[in-house]
Each structure stands twice: as structure tokens, then as C-alpha cells.
């Protein structure tokens, strides 16, 4: 398969009053065209920053982004990039300008990139987009606050689709929605992918949603990838202690099988001036001396299954 996006050792540091914040600290991955990479992690793990870095909404501190064979890490004119890469935001309330109507929001990208010849064509394109995402045409003059969360998120999707991109970063697109609506949006996104061969980077804190939509999953902790593999593999053979804990604490809506829970102690540590060594060590029940001294590298443990843990073999008796 064709690797549409390739990211190498991407880093983003922020200067803060208390020191250097390592938001994303050397992340590498690639996504094949038409596939979905799920990125999971808790708040502060750098997943949203990563999504914005990849589509050049913010500039990277270091590393390389290769899209469609071209190095776009330092491309100055982002106009053509915008047509290829889009983003769907988490919050359907704050991601839509409250002073613009539905059609104004959806037509804006078309206007900016002058992708129409006359008013009539613009109008018909907007209608087509609304139809694609399942918004009734009568809603075109409504304002976002008059619509519910699900419809608002559809507007956000229509705006992202307007430029007909090939790659879409989905930053928690269903987290703010009710379950019944969440399922509608997930189905819509999967249908669109099937029809148009979109490539998704799907960011979420919800493992069950990520599992449902992704082909490959990357688990992040404090700016680093701790585990990366095929979606099913992650759930069948979870190798990293953090992923294990994450998986075991998801409340499942079923009462048959109560899993053995692995409550991890403590809370996420600060990403500012992180100590050397494994970042998860402070909360890890398997941590040994080496974990405080050297940071583990992301290694291929079994075919196509990458884990960064010193004791991965011992823990899983591989």
C-alpha cells in the first residue's frame, strides 16, 4: 500500500515559565492511503498537538513530515496543503463561528480557494456538501446555536470535506456527543472513507471508539508513543503496562464478564522538563532500576507490533 503520510521523529517543545514543555517528544509513524490510524491517550499526552503538527497548523520544533512523497515540514505557502489535509475538531460548539450561518461556514473554504465560477455553482456545491453529511437543505440559513451537537458536528465535517482533501485529522470528533449521535457520526465518517478513500488520523481518549474505526492504533503517554500495532492486535495481545491498564479500566456496558481491573496509581506527571528514564515508570507496577535511568526505545517486539518498555519480554513472557 502507498504511504500517504510519513512522520519521522517529530518534536514540539513549548517554552513555559517553569521550563521546557515536551508536548510531543520524538514521534514517528506512517499511514497508508485509505487507512485510519487511531491515536489514544489521556489528556496531556500530546495527541492533539501531534494532529495539529502533522497538518502544519502549528510548526514543529524538530523532525520531518512527508506527505504524498513531499517533505512539507517547512513548506511556507500552506494553501495547497490545506486542500490536501483537513481537520475535524472536537467541540462542535466552539469550532463554528457563532455569527456565521451554516451555508456561510461551509462555503468559506470554497471562497478562500476560489473553487467556483459563479454564485449558483457555489450554492449547489454547498447543498451537495450538506447532502453528503446528512444535513437537510432547509438548515442552510440556521446559525450553529440553533442546532444540536450532532448537526453541528456534521457542519464541521462538511467544512472539512469542502476542499476535497485526501487526509483528515479527526481530533476527538465524537467526544462531545451523546452516544446515539456519536454512532451516527462514526458511521458517516466510515461511509465517507469507504466512498472516497480518505485517510484518517483519528485522535481520541476513548479506546472503544478508536478500536471501532481504526486499522492501526498508537497509544501515547506524555508525548511519546508507548505502543503501536494493528487495532485487533492491541486488544488481543496488549504488551505495554500502560496500555494494559488503560484497557482494563474502560467501563464496558456489559455485565457478563467483569474484567480484572488494573488500577494504576497516581496521576500523569508533568511534561515540563521530564526526567530521564521511562515516563511511565512512576506509575508502573513493573518498574525496575533501569526504568528511572534510561528511556526505553520503541522496538518491534513481534511482527508489526512496536512497544517501548524495558521489561516487555519479562512482563508478557515472550
Amino acid at each position: 500500500m502507498y504511504k500517504l503520510l510519513e512522520v519521522k521523529d517529530l518534536k514540539k517543545y513549548y517554552e513555559t515559565k517553569n521550563g521546557l514543555l515536551h508536548a510531543v517528544d520524538g514521534v514517528s509513524f506512517s499511514i497508508e492511503e485509505g487507512k485510519t490510524l487511531g491515536v489514544v491517550g489521556e489528556s496531556g499526552c500530546g495527541k492533539s498537538t501531534l494532529g495539529r503538527l502533522v497538518i502544519r497548523l502549528i510548526d514543529a520544533t524538530d523532525g520531518k513530515i512527508i506527505f504524498d512523497g513531499k517533505d512539507i515540514t517547512n513548506v511556507k505557502s500552506k494553501g495547497s496543503l490545506r486542500k490536501e489535509m483537513q481537520i475535524i475538531f472536537q467541540d462542535p460548539f466552539s469550532s463554528l463561528n457563532p455569527r456565521m450561518s451554516v451555508s456561510q461556514i461551509i462555503e468559506e473554504p470554497l471562497k478562500i480557494h476560489k473553487l467556483y465560477y459563479n454564485k449558483a455553482e457555489l450554492r449547489s456545491k454547498v447543498r451537495e456538501l450538506m447532502d453528503t453529511v446528512g444535513l437537510a437543505c432547509r438548515l442552510e440559513d440556521f446559525y450553529p446555536h440553533e442546532l444540536d451537537g450532532g448537526r453541528r458536528q456534521r457542519i464541521g465535517i462538511a467544512r472539512a470535506l469542502a476542499l476535497n482533501p485526501r487526509f483528515i485529522v479527526c481530533d476527538e470528533p465524537v467526544s462531545a456527543l451523546d452516544v446515539s449521535i456519536q454512532a451516527q457520526i462514526l458511521n458517516l465518517m466510515m461511509d465517507l472513507q469507504e466512498e472516497r478513500c480518505f485517510t484518517y488520523m483519528f485522535i481520541s481518549h476513548d479506546l472503544s471508539v478508536v478500536k471501532h474505526i481504526s486499522d492501526e492504533i498508537m497509544v501515547m503517554y506524555l508525548g511519546l508513543v508507548v505502543e503501536k500495532c494493528k487495532a485487533d492486535e492491541l486488544f488481543e495481545h496488549t504488551l505495554h503496562p500502560y496500555s494494559k491498564a488503560l484497557l482494563s479500566v474502560i467501563p464496558e456496558a456489559a455485565i457478563k464478564k467483569k474484567k480484572q481491573k488494573k488500577l494504576i496509581q497516581g496521576e500523569i506527571t508533568s511534561p515540563i522538563n521530564p526526567k530521564p528514564g521511562c515516563r511511565f515508570a512512576a506509575r508502573c507496577s513493573y518498574a525496575g532500576d533501569i526504568c528511572d535511568k534510561a528511556a526505553p526505545e520503541l522496538k518491534e517486539v513481534t511482527p508489526d507490533h512496536y512497544v517501548s518498555c524495558h521489561f516487555v519480554n519479562e512482563i508478557n513472557s515472550l
Binding site: E42, R151, D178, S180, A183, H212, A245, L246, V249, P251
Partner: protein
């Protein structure tokens, strides 16, 4: 719901409306349920289902105006708390029933130390002296897993999960008989959510507190609840023991909720969402409020509102399919 050896809380035909400029918002429509001592009820529903309004009703905290309790009784140990006088009502809150709110960031006063905030409740309700209340506050902190030497710190020095622990300490400080937790873990990360849920679970078991857990997450319910009530458009559409509702789901809405959830174990090609979206609470559909979205709609559903039907002991459904 039959009389099972004197429930601690019994809500009867509670109806709460908001009178706004846009019309009458029928937030809670005729809900009834019982809760026994030491049991936990999960109140599940989507945005706008009326869960929080119901909770405020039980706390006798419905903001008036615009809110109005139209009818119903809320009996706690047989006493109707809606008939309490204002000062009695204050005593009831905190002492008999207390509440944990969703957002720990705003539930705490940023300029008062956490210790004082806990101590304040003890002084108010248990009439403890200042020194005793301080000692009690330290004990409460230890109880919720915060070292008591952090008692003089301010809320901003705590992380989200820690703040929610402080909120729990405040809610449990006076050893209430009923605890209402309104989405207590929604603002937290999953690993922290698991910690907080297990903490709440342990504490209510220890003190035999009854709890109403309000949530939109069907998964969270299975962690600590004994019973569950599914709300839709201000009504409880299905209620019963956890097993009855989860294993023998009857109401089409409840089925729809389960169908909407991506499963961790099975790989589904597509989810089965509920069609359409929540009805406008100022303009609820005639008949059954769910009928425009219902896959099992019958012609009668448009005209006739279903009543509560008991299928087996304690398992109630509000749907014409079962009448």
C-alpha cells in the same frame, strides 16, 4: 414499584417544568422510583433527558423561577421533602442528602483552602467546633486518599482527580443517607475515572449510603450500580435491576443505546445508531415521546402515551409494545 421493605427514597410522579419565554420546557414528566438503603441507582440518559433536573428536584434545589415542581412527592424515610420549610430544607441538604457535581474545577471555591471547605460543612450541619471540624476535615481527606498534610492547600494546587476527591469528601463529610452524584467522572481521564469510581464504591459500601449516579455512560453504571433507570425526554422509559435491563433489554430506546456503543470485544462493520435526534423539550411529540425515532413504531404510538408496565418483578418499561 411495589413497597419493598420501606425504601429510603421514593419518588412519586415527579413532574418538573421550566417556564421560559420560549414556552413550557417539560424537563421531568411523571417519574417514579424507589431506592433502598445502601443501594445504588444509575440514572442514564442523553443530554436534555432531564436527569440533572430530576436530581435537583430530589435535592429540592430546582431554581424557581424558571423551574416549577408541578406535582409529585419525594419521600425520604416516609417524609415528603417538598413540603419542608426553607430552613428545614437547608438542614436536609448536606445532612440527609448531598450532591457531587460534574465539574470539580468549578465546584470548589478557589480562594478557600480545601480543609476549610470540608470543615465548613461539618460546622454547619454537625455543629462541630472549629478545632473539631478541622480534625474531621483531615480525616475526610485521608478517607478519600489525599494525605492530610495537604489540608491547608488551595484547590488550584490539586489536579482534576484530586479535586473531585475533595468534592467527594465534602459530600460525605456529614455522613448523608443519600448521595447524588451528577456525572462525577465525566471530566476525568479514564485511569482517574477508575480510581474515583472505585473510591466512591468503597465509601458508599462502608457507610451504607444510598446513591443515585447520574451518567450518560452505560459502562460506568455497571461498575457500581445495582439498579438502572433509563431516561428519555423527561421520562423513565425502562428501569430495573442491572441484569434485567442489560441482559433482557426491552425498550427500543434502550436497545438503541446499546446498539450505538462500539464494542471492545466484537468487531462490527457499522454501529446501529438511533435515527434522528432528541426532541425539543418545549414541543414534545404526541403519544410516546420516542415514536419519531423508534424502529418499532406502531400507529397507536402517535396518539397514546404508554404507561409504566411491569414485565417481571421490578423491571418496568414504558412502551406500548409491552402493554
Amino acid at each position: 414499584m411495589n413497597d419493598k421493605n420501606n425504601p429510603l427514597l421514593s419518588v412519586r410522579n415527579l413532574t418538573i417544568h421550566y417556564i421560559t419565554d420560549d414556552g413550557l420546557v417539560k424537563a421531568v414528566n411523571d417519574i417514579s422510583f424507589d431506592l433502598e438503603k445502601g443501594k445504588t441507582l444509575g440514572l442514564v440518559g442523553e443530554t436534555g433527558a432531564g436527569k440533572t433536573t430530576a436530581a435537583f428536584g430530589i435535592m429540592n434545589l430546582v431554581p424557581d423561577p424558571p423551574g416549577k415542581i408541578i406535582s409529585g412527592e419525594i419521600l425520604i424515610n416516609g417524609k415528603d421533602i417538598l413540603k419542608l420549610k426553607k430552613n428545614e430544607s437547608k438542614k436536609y441538604r448536606g445532612k440527609v442528602a448531598s450532591m457531587i457535581l460534574q465539574d470539580p474545577m468549578t465546584a470548589l471555591n478557589p480562594i478557600i483552602t480545601v480543609g476549610e471547605q470540608i470543615a465548613e460543612v461539618c460546622r454547619l450541619h454537625d455543629k462541630l467546633s472549629k478545632a473539631d471540624a478541622y480534625i474531621k476535615a483531615a480525616q475526610m481527606l485521608e478517607l478519600v486518599g489525599i494525605p492530610s498534610d495537604r489540608i491547608d492547600e488551595y484547590p488550584h494546587q490539586f489536579s482534576g482527580g484530586m479535586k473531585q476527591r475533595v468534592v467527594i469528601a465534602i459530600a460525605l463529610a456529614c455522613n448523608p443517607q443519600l448521595l447524588i452524584a451528577d456525572e462525577p467522572t465525566t471530566a476525568l481521564d479514564v485511569t482517574i475515572q477508575a480510581q474515583v469510581l472505585s473510591l466512591i464504591g468503597d465509601l458508599i459500601k462502608k457507610y451504607e449510603t444510598s446513591m443515585i449516579l447520574i451518567t450518560h455512560d452505560l459502562g460506568v453504571v455497571t461498575e457500581i450500580c445495582d439498579k438502572v433507570a433509563i431516561m428519555y425526554a423527561g421520562q423513565i422509559v425502562e428501569t430495573g435491576d442491572l441484569e434485567a435491563v442489560y441482559e433482557h433489554t426491552k425498550h427500543p430506546y434502550t436497545k438503541g443505546l446499546f446498539g450505538s456503543l462500539p464494542s471492545l470485544s466484537a468487531k462490527a462493520h457499522r454501529l446501529n445508531p438511533i435515527y434522528g435526534s432528541m426532541p425539543d423539550p418545549t414541543n414534545l411529540p404526541n403519544g410516546c415521546a420516542f415514536h419519531p425515532r423508534c424502529p418499532n413504531k406502531m400507529p397507536a404510538c402517535e396518539n397514546r402515551a404508554p404507561t409504566n408496565t411491569e414485565l417481571e418483578s421490578g423491571h418496568f418499561v414504558r412502551c406500548l409494545l409491552y402493554e
